[in-house]
Structures are given as structure tokens and as C-alpha cells.
Amino acid sequence: MQRERVVVVDNLCKRYGNHTALNGISFAVEPGEVFGLLGPNGAGKTTTLEILEGFRRPDTGRAEVLGVDPAARSTSTELRERIGIVLQDASIEPFLSVRQALKRNAGYYRSPRDVDEVLTLVGLNDKADDRVKSLSGGQVRRLDLAVGVVGAPELLFLDEPTTGFDPVARRDFWTLVRSLADGGTTVLLTTHYMEEADALADRVAVLRGGHVVAEGSPKSLGGRDISEARIRFRLALSVDLATLPVQPTSREGETIEILTSDEIAVLRTLTHWAVSSDVSIDGLTVERRSLEDVYVALTGGNKVAATAEQHQ
């Protein structure tokens, strides 16, 4: 039996005056999946989230969350029992302690998680009795996540959850989100960080100007998985290029570049030749298109986009 999709967005359109925020976007999120919604500011991510959270109604098209219309008043309380939301820049009552703030929110749900268990999960158990206003930015974000998951949601919305984090805090947060996803929570994530989408998302959709311009797994988006790898190294000018076992794609001074879809075989041949011919190849690197390259190309970056397009 086919499992019910957690989120369905079907040909959604939304206008604000003369501005078209969403122009017929469609995607679906499967149970247990981490789905990333990517796009520059103004692409329509926030409007999409606000529709899925029930704050706005689309002009046309259909949005469904856990099988219901998120804007339907008759089911809104029950729906909110089953979803958790980590908003961007949302404050928590500053004079309450961390535990009080979490207990307050836990009390709104019929079957919340144990507050101390959630504090342990987000690594705030040693801050439980501190006032919210004394927490650092990263700790507040952890409390945001705790508030988002304390109701034991089946679906968790994360709206740019790690903006302003240092790299270590960001990786800790990813581990946390992954552990929630491994526990069966479906996650719908928006982010500006491609590294984050790469690390967390099973699938992503890229929005641009109210359209979905690409959708797929981060590994395969924009043909990343089948695009050619770029091998670069430096070779002394005195070496005759005709002796190379693989013909280079380009040469600029000492820098040689080879584009190939079988980088392992090329590297084996190349290194074997270098050793047997006693030739030095320095600064050897192998690159594939990063998710960021693909994203920039899809969302209309200029210089980097052009480079990424050339690789397609």
C-alpha cells in the first residue's frame, strides 16, 4: 500500500498586489524524508511555508499537510498537534527559565515528549534553570528546536535553522536534525546553506521567482552525479604534452586540466605514468560540481553560474 504523502503542494499560486510570489509550484514530501526548499530571498520559500503553516491561503492550487488543508479552521487544532515549527527569528519569553519555557509549550499538546528528555536531546539540560535571556544565540536556536519537537511532531518545519551559527554549532545541529529524522520525523527545511542541504536533505527543490526550477536529491541535482570531474595539476613546461597518457582538455601555463567522466581510471593511468616516467605532477586536485555551483547556476548567479553552466 502506498504511504500517504506528508506534504503535497500542487500548482500553488500566490500574488501580493502586482508581485507574483508563487507561480504554479508543485512538490511532495514523503514520510520520513528530509526535504530541502532552497532559493534566494524573494524566491517564494517563506510564502510556501506560510501557506503550509496555515497562515495564508493560496490564490489557486492545492496545499495539503498530513492529509488536510492547512488553512481549514475545522482541523487546525488537530493538525497543530501533529506538526512542529522552528521559525526564523522568533523570540521566546526572556524571563522564563529554559525548562519553564519548554514546559509551557509542552502543556499545549495532548501527548508531549518528556521535557527533560527533550532538553537532553538538544543539549540544554545543564542550562535548564537559566533564564532564556541569558542564553547565547546558538543555545536559543537549540531551545527553538526543543520547542518545535516537544509536541512529538510527525512533521517538523525548519525555517533557516542555522543562520548565524558558527561551523561547529551548525554541525551539532545537523546531527540533532538527522537523529530526529532517523527517529521517523519528516522534516521540511529551508536554508541558504548548500552545505546544510547537502548534509541533511534526502531531496531538495530549488525555487526561483516563484517557480520550482529543479528538484531531486542533492547528489543528483542539476546532473551533479553524471557531470564530468575536473582533474587539475601542475606540470613543468619542459615536459612534452604528447608523452601524457591522457590528452588534457586545456593548458594554462603549467596548469593542466582534464575533464572526464571516469576520474578513477584517469588518475590511475596518470599516476602510473608519472611514477614510471619520473615526472613530478604537483597540486593534483579532483573536483566535481558542488551543490552550490548547481544552485548558483539555477538561481541566476552571474560569473560562477556561467562556470557551472559550462560544466553541464
Binding site: G67, L87, I92
Partner: protein, 273 residues
């Protein structure tokens, strides 16, 4: 699939649901009270400020009497006036500013996205305002009695009724006012200015003589009527202590108008920037 079929609401019997609703109100009220009293500066400016102001005016006014009110001591007028001021300050100023701040920093959005039903939030907020107002009034009555020998209200039940109607009226006005304020930076100055002007025009600091020009203006606003309604409950004298039906009627009309504005214009999410 219909919307209803998609969810398993896990609802209990009507009795269980009613008990749960009462618990939710109690829980939300408890944390609202905790948030309020744990913020010492906020609590002082909402409650302590009226006590300080009363004390200063009482010292300045001394033992004066109000001739056009049958020789009632001025201090009695001030105690009654500041009881009214306390309700208005908490329910109008404090609520309006708090709502703007919570709307703009997305605390309201967070609440809206939780399963807490809106009606429970409204009831708990009204009870919260009533409790803080009651604490303020009790402190003012005690200060008035102990420091300035002002007798406790002669009509306590009427005082309770007036206060409850005042809480409803000024809370509705607070919610309505919050919808007109665009950001948290302007919330404090705008609300305080409007409130100060209304309180000044309505004769809190000096009783308004019958027929005065200010009275003609202030009679249109509920602040004047809240002051005179509370003052009426302090006395049993004919004329002064008559049950303040007219004042209550004006406040009910303002509550109704404010409720319409609040329901039509209230927003959970911040204004788009």
C-alpha cells in the same frame, strides 16, 4: 480524502475535554503571570508606578477637599482615580505594547502555530489582566487606608463589577490599539502618549468641575467614565455614590467598538518589512 478523515484527533468525552480546557487556561495563565512578575522593571511600571504617583499627588494635595463634590477629600478621589488608572494602565497600555512586541518578534506566531485554541488564549489573557489589575487595586487601597486614612470602598461589589467591565473595555482597546502600531520601537512612545493625554484630559490629576470644557471632551472617552465609576463605588452619599450605569454603558460601547476593530484587524504575524 476529506479534511476530517485525515486526522485522528484523540478527543475524549465532553467532560474530559472541558477539564482539559480549564487546565489549559490555568497553565497558560500561570506562565503569563510568571513572565509578568519575573520582569521586575515591567512589573514596577505597570503596578508600582500608580502607587508612587498616588503618593506624590497625595503629598502635594494634602488635606484639600473637593467643594463641587460635596467636600469629598481630594485624597479619596486620588485613590479611586489611581485604582481606575491601574486597570487602564495594565489593560490598555501594557497589553497593547506587549502584543505589538510579541507580534513583531513572532511570539504570537509561535502561539498561533501551537495547538492552543485561540479562545483559551483570549480567556487566559483577560484573566491575566484582571489578576494584575486586582493586585494593583489592592495595593492602592492598602496604601490609601494605611498611609492616608482613606476608607475602603463603600460598595465593594459595585467596585468589582466596574473593574471587570473596565478590564474588558480597556483590554479590547489595548488589542485594537496594537493593530494600529507598526513596530515595537514605536509601541511604547505611541501608547504612552495617547494614554497620558487621555488620562490628563479625563481629570485624573485634578477633578473636573461640572460644565468645564475638558469635561465636554473627556466625556466622549471611557477613561473619564472609568475614573468616575470607580470613584462612585467609594461612597454611599446620594448623588456621588449612585450606581454608575451611564459610565458603565459608555465603557460597554467602547468595548464593543474596540472588539470589532480588534477582530477585523488583529494579526498574528509581523508586518512584512
Amino acid at each position: 480524502m476529506s479534511a476530517e478523515q485525515g486526522l485522528s484527533p484523540q478527543r475524549g468525552s465532553p467532560m474530559t475535554e472541558a477539564t482539559r480546557d480549564v487546565r489549559l487556561i490555568g497553565r497558560h495563565l500561570f506562565y503569563e503571570q510568571l513572565s509578568f512578575w519575573l520582569n521586575p522593571i515591567g512589573a514596577f511600571f505597570s503596578v508600582g508606578f500608580s502607587v508612587v504617583f498616588l503618593t506624590l499627588l497625595a503629598i502635594a494635595g494634602g488635606t484639600s477637599k473637593i467643594t463641587f463634590l460635596g467636600g469629598v477629600p481630594l485624597i479619596e478621589y486620588y485613590v479611586a482615580g489611581f485604582c481606575a488608572y491601574g486597570v487602564m494602565s495594565v489593560c490598555f497600555s501594557n497589553l497593547a505594547i506587549t502584543l505589538v512586541i510579541r507580534r513583531e518578534n513572532r511570539q504570537l506566531m509561535r502561539l498561533r502555530l501551537s495547538p492552543l485554541p485561540t479562545w483559551i488564549l483570549v480567556v487566559a489573557t483577560a484573566l491575566n489582566m484582571a489578576i494584575i489589575s486586582a493586585v494593583d487595586i489592592i495595593v492602592l487601597l492598602l496604601v490609601g487606608a494605611l498611609a492616608f486614612h482613606v476608607a475602603l470602598p463603600a460598595q465593594p461589589l459595585a467596585l468589582i463589577l466596574v473593574v471587570l467591565i473596565g478590564v474588558a473595555c480597556f483590554s479590547m482597546m489595548g488589542v485594537a490599539a496594537s493593530t494600529a502600531i507598526p513596530n515595537q520601537e514605536s509601541a511604547g512612545p505611541v501608547v504612552s502618549l495617547v494614554f497620558f493625554v487621555l488620562v490628563f484630559l479625563s481629570g485624573l490629576y485634578f477633578p473636573l468641575a461640572p460644565g468645564s470644557g475638558l469635561l465636554q471632551i473627556s466625556n466622549w472617552f471611557p477613561v473619564r467614565h472609568m475614573i468616575t465609576a470607580v470613584f462612585a463605588t467609594f461612597s454611599n452619599q446620594p448623588g456621588i455614590g449612585a450606581f454608575p450605569w451611564q459610565d458603565i454603558l459608555v465603557m460597554v460601547i467602547w468595548a464593543a467598538i474596540s472588539a470589532v476593530v480588534a477582530i477585523r484587524r488583529f494579526r498574528w504575524e509581523p508586518r512584512r518589512r
